[in-house]
Amino acid sequence: MRKTQPLLYATLLVGIALSAFPLYWLFVVATRSNDVVGDWPPPLAPGPNLWDNLGRLFGAEDANFLLGMWNSLLTSAVVTVSVVFFSSLAGFAFAKLKFRGRNALLLVILATMMIPVQMGIIPLYMIMVELGWQNRMEAIVVPALVSAFGVFLMRQYAEQAVPDELIEAARIDGCSTFRIFWTIVLPALRPGAAVLALTTFMGTWNEFLWPLAVLEADNPTVQFSLSQLSTTYYTDYTLMFTGALVATVPLLLVFIAFGRQIIGGIMEGAVKA
């Protein structure tokens, strides 16, 4: 066992290098100028052109990159707050409250987790036309306000994180159910809610098919802007890479700050699944 250790570390480091390299390459090209990108051997050190490229990125016509970033930040934030709130609320009810039909409703939620909702986008688009929400952020936010996965996750978490005695004691003190949720349950759910918040934020940030269907190029989300770049400027690699870098930075920041919790969340979810 001892003897295999160096080999083990070497293999793992190669694996991590492979998983990090495309990100590093993203950064390198974003700091370079177009004339060296296709060189062989490829330029592997960062260059001095990042500011220049950023200027061109935010000035690029058709892409509306700044607006795209803003729209994505806004929609991702609103969706995250809403999903966490409604999932905690419903998760608490499913885990800790007794009501008729509870198990049947929970089964429905489990089943909907498996449904590829994306396949309903044609009628969803028609609904948005009816509501006058084409090319508006309401179209992105409102259908995403709740999540079956979120409810399920928070139910699992609430089950073990909130002691029944605490809830009973609060009831005896005359707390309303919502008050119990707000003052006792929600604080106890915080770690689980953090994981849900992070995955929801990332998921909304990466949403692409639906924004492409319902939005126009003059009011895009960030992924839409990126696809505009790759359609209009597909020979301009440094420009596209700078866009890709800027679109990835918020997720990277979230990851650096909360990576541990994300890993914990994935692994905990896996044990239960």
Binding site: A90, I122, A273
Partner: protein
């Protein structure tokens, strides 16, 4: 539980409350009883209402739209199964099914195998556990269109690194976008890169729950590392494997962003000039949102839905039966 609690509430209230409040307690009591009974429904209602309106209804209504001659001007004539008849004879549709399944296999099989290996490597006594796990998970943090952009460049015919590396071993430059197999490989590489670490962590969590004495007993019996892996580790993490296989299949059948970005330029939605890497989701999008043929697009969507369901069930049966 509620019936158990109420008497206690009643007995505990009077000593604390002042006399003038006494007539109100009956009403308060009734309100609180109603509140306890109905608030659970109120708490779960937002999910069901929003999901019903924006999730379930559109999905079901897709079937209805697919039975009509329906375009941007609104619902036309009811045409029964005509859209499906056309669809079954539509070579472009079958081509997209073929492409999707091809990329699904190329993306799922290596991904899960690599994840298994990676997880068993991580499941040893290691220093720097958090660093290693975060490193493995890094790709999932990359914004999805960015993955498409980076790999499109890496797989570029003229400027790409892959062809540069192939040149070192005297292999001619490959035009990755030109053919089915090459473009599938490039796109599957993006998916593999992005999801291997995530699946590895799921497997790792399952592996850590396996009791250590199983391995000790196997070692005593003289079973080698590899034998232990196949006869102890894999069977014990079966639920995790089933979970990842089903999740990857559902995601793979809806593959959209990576091939679209890979396409670049004006052929993006058709997946290359000869539709060599158009997926079913892209085909649905092309029909509904480029050609504005909602009826036909809905038929495509409904077929994708059926395909996913069938594949899900097949997956489930296979993974369940193999031991």
């Amino acid at each position: 539980m509620a019936t158990d609690l109420r008497p206690r509430t009643a007995t505990s209230t009077p000593p604390g409350s002042a006399p003038p409040e006494r007539p109100r307690t009956g009403l308060k009591d009734r309100i609180s009883r109603v509140e306890v009974r109905w608030s659970p429904y109120l708490f779960v209602a937002p999910f069901f209402v929003i999901f019903a309106v924006f999730g379930l209804f559109p999905l079901v209504y897709t079937a209805w739209v697919s039975l009509h001659d329906w375009d941007i001007t609104g619902a036309g004539a009811f045409v029964g199964l005509d859209n499906y008849v056309t669809l079954f004879a539509d070579p472009d549709f079958w081509n997209s099914v073929h492409n999707t399944l091809g990329m699904l296999v190329l993306a799922t099989v290596p991904q899960l195998l690599m994840a298994l290996v990676l997880a068993s490597l991580l499941n040893q006594k290691l220093r720097g556990v958090t660093f290693l796990r975060m490193g493995v998970l890094l790709p999932i943090v990359t914004s999805v269109a960015a993955v498409g952009i980076v790999f499109s460049q890496i797989f570029d015919r003229d400027a790409g690194m892959v062809n540069g590396l192939l040149g070192l071993v005297n292999v001619d430059a490959v035009d990755w976008r030109a053919d089915k197999w090459s473009s599938w490989t490039a796109i599957a590489t993006m998916v593999n890169w992005r999801w291997t670490g995530y699946n590895a962590l799921i497997y790792l969590a399952a592996m850590q729950a396996i009791p250590k004495d199983l391995y000790e007993a196997a070692t005593v019996d003289g079973a080698g590392r590899i034998r232990q892996f196949w006869s102890i580790t894999v069977p014990n993490i079966r639920p995790a494997i089933v979970f990842t296989v089903i999740m990857s299949t559902i995601a793979g059948m809806q593959l959209f962003t990576e091939p679209l970005i890979f396409g670049q330029g004006s052929f993006a939605i058709s997946g290359g000039s000869l539709r060599q890497f158009q997926t079913v989701s892209m085909y649905m999008f092309e029909k509904a949102f480029r050609d504005f043929d909602y009826g036909y697009g809905s038929a495509v969507a409904w077929m994708i839905f059926l395909l996913i369901t069938v594949l899900g069930v097949v997956n489930f049966l296979i993974t369940r039966r193999s031991k």
